[in-house]
Symmetry: C2
Subunit: 342 residues, 2 copies
């Protein structure tokens, strides 16, 4: 399967997860509810780290869970790891193989803390190490750049949130995701046009906030690894604390501006950035998003589920940008499918 095929397969892969793995998510949520812990520590790298960011916001806002992202180096390169008292430790990894993430999980086990692995491989070392495994069930991913495994990680995180809340009505909301993703893929021509406009840039910044803070980070990562353009992601709030000085005529700014309590803040920042002469390309589900170039998505989802279709739009965007820049999306230079860091 090529990257393009894997991007296109997402409606059916997401649909399969909702139909066949809701029970697993409910059982995992029930297991979590029975644990004695006060906060969550997540261990992840690369795209999976962006899924962990999504979990930090979603579980924080919907489930009142205090979620932290671990610094895996503390568990591998310095003498003694942090005291994990009170924590539930969750590893997220497509392959379930990176040694530094396994070191975090091992440290949690040694400290008698509960552990959950969220991977795409029930036979992986991380799945074997953890007390419990949640399978994202995205099927084998052949392309180097993560696409369907990332969106199924987001869906698994969202399903856990819904299951922790106990609501089958939330499960119904999840059911609207695959259709919205299919509707997003239907906008291919519009997305391609917006992407090709950035063909000659050497650098850009990506802005998002709240649930889509993670999406800005994932969009930027995909652009860096496939299009070879330095793409720096920021929370809209952090951007105002200094990096706003980067804005100058011609600077390419990518923004995620979905409907919800953050829309006004992000829309205001888009206007500030445009007043400084930058050119803003936005993905939004609101027609009134004040971008120079607007990729308008179907508005069928509550804000907390929008990172899934917005990410798919960002994947399609990056695919066309990469091809327009003369690179091969299926053969990114210098990187491999499974990266093992210590």
């Amino acid at each position: 399967m090529t990257l393009w095929d894997e991007i296109q397969s997402q409606p059916s892969i997401l649909s399969g997860y909702i139909d066949e793995h809701w029970g697993d998510a409910k059982e995992t949520a029930s297991w979590i509810s029975g644990l004695d812990f006060s906060h969550v520590v997540m261990a992840a790298r690369g795209s999976s780290d962006n899924a962990a960011r999504y979990a930090q916001y979603l579980w924080g806002a919907h489930n009142a869970l205090n979620v932290a992202l671990a610094a895996p180096s503390l568990y591998t390169l310095y003498a003694s790891p942090p005291d994990l008292s009170g924590s539930l430790v969750i590893g997220i990894s497509q392959s379930g193989e990176s040694p530094d993430l396994l070191a975090v999980m091992e440290s949690a086990r040694n400290q008698a803390r509960p552990t959950l692995a969220i991977t795409n491989n029930p036979g992986s070392p991380m799945a074997g190490l953890a007390d419990r495994h949640l399978d994202i069930a995205a099927g084998p991913e052949m392309a180097v750049a993560a696409t369907k495994s990332y969106t199924n990680q987001l869906l698994a995180v969202a399903a856990l949130s819904a299951a922790l809340d106990g609501g089958d009505d939330l499960h119904d909301m999840l059911r609207a995701v695959p259709d919205t993703v299919a509707g997003t893929l239907d906008r291919n021509d519009r997305i391609a046009e917006a992407a090709r406009a950035l063909r000659d840039e050497t650098r850009c910044v990506a802005i998002g906030r709240g649930y889509n803070h993670s999406t800005a980070f994932e969009w930027a990562l995909k652009i860096a690894e496939l299009s070879y353009m330095v793409a720096q992601p920021f929370s809209a709030a952090d951007f105002r604390h200094g990096p706003l000085a980067l804005v100058e005529p011609g600077l390419a700014v990518l923004a995620v501006a979905t409907d919800g309590p953050l829309f006004e803040d992000v829309a205001d920042l888009i206007e500030v950035v445009r007043a400084g002469g930058a050119r803003v390309t936005a993905i939004s589900d609101r027609e009134d998003c004040p971008a120079d170039d607007l990729v308008l998505l179907p508005s069928q989802l509550p804000e907390w589920l929008t990172p899934i279709p917005v990410t798919v739009a960002a994947q399609v965007f990056t695919y066309h940008l990469t091809v327009a820049r003369g690179h091969d999306p299926d053969d990114p230079r210098a990187i491999h499918k499974v990266t093992k860091t210590v």
Copy 2:
């Protein structure tokens, strides 16, 4: 005072902190030791967020504290904040004024959790809100870009770590910091030469790991806000998980490669990046650091204290880069000294 003056004042400001505020750090450490908590949640934005990153690594490795960086948006823009059970909540802010950080501290108070504010203003709202205030005592900072307030934040974090460890020998180690910073400032000509070589770049990446993960982030932030160059920071481990594909002939890569358990990993990454044709400028205290352009610092400090002199070198670097690019380091466009985000 200009930015240049504030950069040059750091040996005496750091020295003043060590001489006059060690007692405050010891009392604060004693107060922390008496609290009932299992983990630390830190709230910060901008440069202060990089000081929080340093705390995550240093307190994690030296004091076994599990430190998390908060997502302040969760406390302002979504309906309900996370459950902070078991946490000690620490705000770090030069001004102590940003509303989103105050919201995190207020939520902690409402949940009856202990709070510590680390600011440069004992009369600030954050200092007033917190159970206890630790003054970084950097004196009024006039330049928009944080320099002496950042290095004194790092020193306060290091002093707390040393005091929590209980060792007056560690206090003696802190005493070596101002001299090393003075020795760093003496290398002005060498740093200026390395900076001017990057005058015509439009983008770069900055790499660090461990204690100096934070330094790579602070270096990149200074370059963005003063030199207007997109400067993307990465942990050396995260860089291998995808962004390594960015490497191409001519790409400017900045690296922090200090002596310690991370040196081999960062040095290996420098060689990988150079093999791909990128040009590496490194700040290091090791002569054998394999960079194209090496800024060699005095090697008088243990690794955990190197972020202070390395940051000073990065400030001097950014000052000269900014001037060489024709910009005014004392009047960065579009940003202000105190940024209030919600």
